[in-house]
């Protein structure tokens, strides 16, 4: 694996191998000294053109637990703010001798462009409305930890702002790759204009699917990406699509509730549900570090020559 740009680039066996690798890194993460020397002497740079605290810290924690050196290139205060092009920025960073770049960018396809310009490995940490592959991998991993290694036939509802969500796009592809059945639940205004290429069913009424799903993935309402009013009010959204305590009670007894974070408590999800037994939200964060360790290890530990 030379780069991780999109779930689209992966085969089912790649995802399964990464999941198995993640088991080893979860064990490492649980140690008193959570560090192995696997990537000693390697340098991983976070190149973040969009605000993100949790993803950046998750990647940096992952790199440090593998003993790689890490650097952060944020936009504010850097030369990008002075007008330097992405290409020049990336070339400059590469000239410093780095092994991998973790890229987050507001434009879909930016990590792919970066991968074409440099020899270092590139990980997509979210590009516009396109993909967020490591989030999808950690969601799959979290489900495997909870439910066992096979997700075949698992019924998953992805609820909310699908149109603006790169998490939804990656989740659908990854979960489908592992055999899950996906239903997108959203008002028509929050669904993509075309659902071609989305191997999923669509529903507009959350209440009608509650009793038929094993997992509900709630998406964050991305108000920063919405240029117009797509629903009447937050309260109205929450009434129709929020995971309230009442809705959670109508889920199957073992159904799980996931959220990629950051949460808008009281909008997509009630605090009571977010902190309840069905919620995997905290596990998702912990598993995220282990999954990112697996990705970085796969890219850098074997010279990137295989798979």
């Amino acid at each position: 694996m030379r780069h991780l740009l999109a779930i689209d680039d992966l085969e089912r066996s790649d995802v399964e191998e990464l999941m198995e690798l993640t088991d080893s890194f979860l064990e490492v993460s649980g140690r008193e000294i959570a560090k192995v020397p696997a990537l000693r002497g390697r340098t991983v740079v976070s190149l973040f053109y969009e605000d993100s605290t949790r993803t950046r810290i998750s990647f940096e924690t992952a790199a440090k637990r593998l003993s790689a050196d890490t650097m952060t290139f944020g936009v504010s205060g850097s030369s990008a703010a002075k007008g330097e092009s992405l290409r020049d920025t990336v070339r400059t960073i590469e000239a410093m001798g780095i092994d991998a770049v973790v890229v987050r960018h507001a434009s879909a396809g930016a990590p792919q462009r970066v991968a074409g310009w440099i020899d270092a490995g590139v990980v997509n940490a979210g590009d516009g409305r396109h993909e967020h592959p490591t989030q999808a991998l950690l969601d799959c991993y979290t489900l495997r930890r909870r439910l066992g290694p096979s997700l075949e036939g698992l019924r998953v509802a992805i609820v909310g702002d699908v149109a603006n969500s790169r998490v939804a796009r990656s989740d659908v592809k990854a979960l489908r790759l592992l055999g899950a059945q996906i239903t997108l639940v959203a008002p028509p205004t929050l669904l993509p204009s075309s659902l071609r290429g989305w191997p999923a069913e669509v529903a507009h009424d959350l209440d009608s699917v509650l009793s038929d799903v094993d997992v509900v993935i709630l998406l964050r309402l991305q108000r920063e990406r919405q240029s117009e009013a797509l629903f009447p009010s937050l309260r109205e959204y929450s009434l129709r699509y929020g995971m309230t305590a009442d809705r959670a009670r109508r889920l199957g007894p073992d159904a799980l509730v996931m959220h990629p974070g950051p949460m808008n408590r009281g909008v997509e999800i009630d605090a009571e549900v977010a902190d309840g037994a069905r919620s995997t939200i905290t596990e998702q964060v912990g598993n995220g570090v282990a999954v990112r360790m697996a990705v970085l290890y796969r890219m850098l530990a074997s010279g990137g020559t295989d798979v």
């Binding site: 690798l21 080893s24 064990e27 490492v28 140690r31 560090k35 192995v36 696997a38 530990a301 010279g303």
Partner: protein, 215 residues
């Protein structure tokens, strides 16, 4: 006892079967003897932890623990150690971890017996020592191997040896265990087709005899 003959295995290139070294009975005798040696040397088994190196080392460690259980009133804990992240060739080839490290007890102040199937260059054991150190500070670390095939590249020595087996570097020592390989228990030497006129004179015998090395 299984019929002699080559076992199936991932043939490295065009390796052919050379000799069978151990059959299932030989293997049982070897680990029974090693089990006794471990208990004798440590004056009992109370403070001993057996830590197998993935994959076959773990199976052998379990056998040793089961064996000790039959003659000593002790339930010896067994762990599994993955050394991948500590290997020195991690940047040179694809090193994939086999499974998560799992050691059920705190190794601090205990005697850890590392268990592996074949001792060759010593690099795996070096990596294992690093991996083990991160779990705690054992009182002592000992090494038990089924086969010592020579060709050490690091100053590593086993405390318990099933059999010292002179080999050529081109040869492959194949340990097959029913727990891990869907095969009868055997140890065999595989290697290149013997060229006429070439003897086994370059075998690394290093003047050792078979059996346990005096410790």
């Amino acid at each position: 006892m299984s019929a002699p003959g080559p076992v199936d295995g991932p043939a490295s290139d065009d390796a052919v079967f050379h000799t069978r070294v151990f059959d299932a009975d030989d293997l049982r005798r070897a680990h029974t003897r090693i089990a006794h040696e471990i208990v004798e040397r440590n004056h009992g088994a109370d403070n001993v932890v057996l830590v197998g190196l993935y994959t076959r080392g773990v199976a052998i460690a379990r056998r040793l623990a089961a064996s000790i259980c039959t003659f000593e009133d002790a339930d010896v804990p067994v762990g599994a150690l993955d050394v991948s992240f500590y290997r020195d060739d991690i940047a040179l080839r694809s090193v994939q971890p086999v499974g998560p490290t799992e050691v059920p007890v705190d190794v601090a102040d205990r005697t850890v017996v590392l268990v592996d199937d074949v001792l060759f260059t010593g690099r795996t054991v070096r990596a294992a020592l690093d991996a083990l150190t991160e779990l705690g500070r054992p009182r002592a670390v000992q090494l038990a191997v089924l086969i010592d095939r020579g060709h050490r590249e690091l100053p590593v020595r086993a405390d318990y040896v099933g059999k010292n087996l002179p080999t050529r570097t081109a040869e492959d020592v194949r340990v097959r265990l029913h727990e891990t390989d869907d095969s009868d228990d055997v140890v065999e030497i595989w290697g290149p087709v013997e060229e006429p006129g070439r003897s086994a004179g370059d075998r690394s015998s290093e003047g050792r005899s078979s059996g346990s090395r005096p410790s």
